[in-house]
């Protein structure tokens, strides 16, 4: 069955059953492989994307739920997002597999809360597992990106 999806500002028509998780449509059908499969049950955050600006686990999102919803994946972050610049500056990634999900969770946080406290950061990021243990640098990079943004700015999402 054909279904139209709004992803990164483009319209895509996909042939997939309505209960197909967005993650597999992105990865297998559309070639948008930035969002990763890590657990498939909403535990790890590797598959995080934005739905209307909110960080959501794409492995838990059937495409049937996406009528009129704007999907943003890591490929859709505009230019070099301040978080991505901070990530590179702090050499955050190790294996890198979790990092798309980490950045999408962090981007949604900064869009909502441009100057997050430590507790805000922990809250927003606790659903994203990093087996390489980059947590300390993730926190530092979010703070560095937040420090560069004016207090009222809304980060690109």
């Amino acid at each position: 069955m054909a279904k139209t999806l709004d992803i990164n500002g483009k319209s895509y028509s996909v042939e997939a059953a309505p209960d197909t998780p967005l993650l597999w449509v992105l990865r297998d059908e559309l070639g948008l492989t930035g969002a990763k499969y890590g657990c498939g049950v909403g535990q790890c955050g590797a598959c995080t994307v934005h739905l209307n600006g909110v960080a959501v686990r794409s492995c838990q999102t059937p495409i049937a739920a996406l009528d009129g919803v704007k999907v943003t994946t890591i490929e859709g972050l505009e230019g070099l997002h301040p978080l991505q610049a901070a990530w590179v500056e702090a050499d955050v990634p190790q294996c890198g597999y979790c990092q798309s999900g980490q950045i999408m969770s962090a981007a949604a946080l900064l869009a909502r809360t441009p100057k997050p406290t430590d507790a805000d950061i922990t809250d927003a990021m606790n659903g994203n597992i990093c087996r390489c243990g980059c947590y300390q640098r993730i926190r530092a990079a979010i703070k560095a990106a937040a420090a560069k943004a004016p207090a009222s700015a809304t980060a690109a999402a």
């Binding site: 049950v41 994946t73 990530w87 890198g96 243990g133 980059c134």
Partner: protein, 727 residues
């Protein structure tokens, strides 16, 4: 440096061979030409550019270092490239790193004799090799410039990829590369004095992949798409050692997108047009299993059998026997000396890399090709060759980034790789097949850190120091059945106890190990034996200090003095110095020190109890890893290794109920999240020694450091891991 190399012509070697030779023999290691390399090299490609297999320089001046080691987080690509760039005097900002294909002859790990990454050896085994590559190539550019400008080579300097003469003449690598390519490489290029390094040891040595990995552009196996590719999932026996009895594929075959269902040695494969279809097909498959040879015990029962062996209540049966790993001194321990006895239990641990195991294979139609994160390409070639009936060297492997491994992708049976090859062979025609393991497949798929029991009894002398040390270890053998497991003793089961300075400082030692079998598959897990031995030795020593009424830090220092271990002493002192005065109220410090893979790490962890569970705050880390090639990557590995070790110590536990793994995903197998992540400070001991690895040594120290803090807080020792057993 000049040892002969078998397998190369004794008469004038070609330029290319010269570079291979100088690379392979550097540092005295001579492994190119040894038998596994020969076997694995037949059929391998050996056409490389003028600068050999490790380095390419393009006419536009771009410098590309070819890494023989996989990058799955360790940061080794940065360090390896820096070694070449330093000696080459290349412009670091323009240096790129690519992954070498499988080729055992030229890309062997010089510490292993075959191509593979592990044992925290990437930087250590490449140290002379890649510096030689850089230095030889630099000399070729200098000669080319000297010839072109008709000036003495000694008057030429190189900096940032620019070759210059005091007369003011200069040329970029790009401008000179065509001439440099024609120069014969020097056999013994002069290496820099480390004192003159301008790149190595600086914070400029940063990851080359951070941007791609921050943009979702790094290519992992999971991301591979090829025209006409099929995706496979395999139904595995829920019990280790179980076999397919029968299966009913009728429902699975009706799932849209499912292409075929068939049996392979490890289970029943479902191949489909995409991942979701394969997943759904696999879920609707009905399989009956034959458990005749399967492990049907629960982990409680297995552990109880370990206890019975250690205590002497049960006698070894079958092939099992006690083996001595340390026995020195003789005579009865002093009468009336204080005795400290302790048992320690460690559970099975899953590696749970973020990217579940996967592989892409194209088999048939004249093709034998794998595309995936291959950690030991030589073994993956060998195992593939055996399945498809091809020369191992002819099996092509394109190695991609891997989303973590921690030892899991280094498997002498190439377990998931072989599975993929079986599926692709059945599909045939060279049609690409991507085998995808779900998280559940990965978590329940075995190759765990083995379960381990230690029983220790120490008798103290009149001064409170160990007079006699009796140590029993019961665990499964990791090395048994592996091609490099020929030794009598599986050192991976005892390393860290064997060789401990505490045992050296003890007059009478009786250390024995026994290795019962189980169908549960086991494997090395980041830092291998140290995952348990560091815990036992470091937590035990705090208990001994308490029994002796001494300060645990001073107690360690006295034992290091007795054992003549000045390295641990220096690293401990550095950590103490950096930790500074006692922490703020509510935090208690625990100390631990361990050496593995020739690197010593000392940690001082600040801990408090929150709702009965340890909360770890600041962790001061001191490390001696020889010359620090990339200080920032060393710090990153200490941070990540500490999280990995703390995750296991806090929560890590795979249990079996009647042989079936109880933890299927991250909800059952809890791992460290940001809430629990400590703040790790890393301090590197200045050193002139050659570099040693850092990927693993940061992992095993945090567990005992936290246990020692808990001992100070509660007065109670830790007898088993993990600390937190509620869900």
């Amino acid at each position: 440096m000049n040892a002969p190399v078998k397998g190369f012509s004794p008469t004038r070697p070609s330029r290319r061979e010269m570079l291979v030779i100088s690379a392979a023999t550097a540092g005295g290691a001579l492994l190119v030409g040894c038998s596994p390399a020969n076997l694995l090299s037949i059929g391998a490609d050996d056409h490389f550019g003028p600068f050999g297999p490790f380095l390419r320089i393009e006419p536009d001046g771009a410098v590309t270092v070819v890494s023989k080691h996989i990058e799955f987080g360790q940061g080794n690509h940065a360090g390896l490239a820096a070694m070449v760039a330093e000696e080459l005097d290349a412009d670091w900002d323009k240096v790129k790193v690519v992954q070498a294909p499988a080729n055992t002859k030229v890309y062997a790990n010089l510490g292993m004799g075959f191509q593979g990454t592990g044992g925290s050896s990437a930087i250590a085994n490449s140290w002379p090799q890649l510096r030689n590559v850089g230095a030889a190539t630099r000399a070729m550019f200098v000669t080319a410039a000297a010839d072109r400008w008709k000036v003495p080579a000694g008057e030429i300097t190189v900096k940032n990829s620019v070759v210059s003469h005091s007369s003011g003449k200069s040329a970029t690598f790009g401008e000179l590369v065509a001439d440099a390519a024609k120069v014969a490489p020097p056999k013994d290029p002069t290496l820099k004095d480390p004192k003159t390094f301008t790149l190595i040891g600086t914070d400029r040595v940063r990851r080359k992949d951070a941007a791609a990995k921050s943009r979702g552009q790094a290519r992992f196996t999971q991301d591979v798409h090829m025209p006409n590719m099929l995706v496979a999932m395999v139904a595995h026996s829920p019990r280790f050692g179980g076999k397919v009895k029968s299966f009913d594929a009728s429902a699975a075959k009706k799932v849209p997108g499912v292409v075929d269902v068939f049996q392979i040695p490890t289970g029943v494969a479902v191949v489909a047009n995409n991942t979701w279809a394969a997943h759904q097909g696999r879920d609707t498959l009905k399989v009956e299993w034959n458990d005749d040879k399967a492990e049907t015990r629960s982990t409680d029962a297995i552990l109880a059998s370990y206890h019975a062996l250690a205590s002497g209540q049960a006698q070894p049966s079958g092939e099992m026997k006690w083996q001595t790993f340390d026995s020195h001194g003789a005579g009865a321990p002093p009468q009336g000396g204080k005795v400290v006895e302790a048992g320690f239990d460690f559970p099975y641990l899953a590696h749970a890399a973020m990217e579940p195991m996967n592989c892409v294979a194209e088999i048939g139609g004249g093709k034998n090709k794998l595309t995936f994160g291959s950690q030991i390409p030589s073994m993956d070639q060998l195992n593939t060759g055996m399945i498809v009936g091809a020369l191992p060297g002819s099996v092509q492997i394109e190695t991609l980034f891997a989303g973590g491994s921690y030892g899991r992708r280094a498997n002498f049976k190439s377990d998931y790789v072989s599975e993929c090859v079986h599926v692709a062979k059945h599909v045939g025609g060279g049609r690409p097949v991507k085998l995808v393991w779900t998280r559940e497949d990965d978590m329940t798929g075995g190759y765990y850190r083995p379960m381990v029991h230690h029983a220790v009894k120490v008798t103290l002398d009149a001064d409170g120091f160990p007079a006699a040390w009796c140590h029993r270890i019961v665990t499964q053998s990791i090395m048994k059945g592996s091609p490099i497991g020929g030794g009598k003793l599986d050192e991976s089961a005892v390393e860290g106890v064997m060789g401990s300075p505490y045992l050296k400082a003890t007059p009478v030692v009786d250390g024995q190990v026994i290795l019962p079998d189980s169908p549960v598959t086991v494997l090395w897990w980041r830092s291998v034996g140290a995952t348990h031995s560091a815990f036992v030795m470091e937590h035990m020593v705090d208990q001994l200090a308490r029994a002796a009424g001494k300060d645990p830090v001073e107690y360690r220092k006295a034992l290091y003095a007795k054992a003549g271990d000045s390295r641990r002493l220096a690293v401990l002192n550095l950590a103490l110095d950096k930790a500074g005065p006692a922490p703020a109220d509510g935090w208690t410090r625990g100390v631990a020190v361990h050496e593995c893979f020739n690197t010593v790490v000392a940690q001082i962890a600040e801990v408090k109890l929150v709702d009965g569970a340890p909360k770890v705050g600041r962790v001061v880390t001191a490390v001696d890893c020889g010359i620090a090639v990339s200080p920032d990557q060393i710090a990153a590995q200490m941070e990540g290794g500490t999280c990995f070790g703390l995750s296991a110590a806090m929560f890590g536990r795979i249990t079996l109920k009647d042989g079936v793994v109880e933890q299927k995903n991250f909800d059952g197998y809890r791992v460290l999240r940001m809430t629990e992540a400590p703040t790790v400070e890393t301090y590197i001991l200045p050193s002139r020694a050659k570099p040693s690895g850092v990927g693993e040594p940061g992992t095993p120290v945090i567990g005992p450091a936290v246990a020692n803090a808990l001992l100070a807080i509660t007065g109670k020792p830790t007898r088993s891991l993990p600390f937190v057993t509620s869900a």
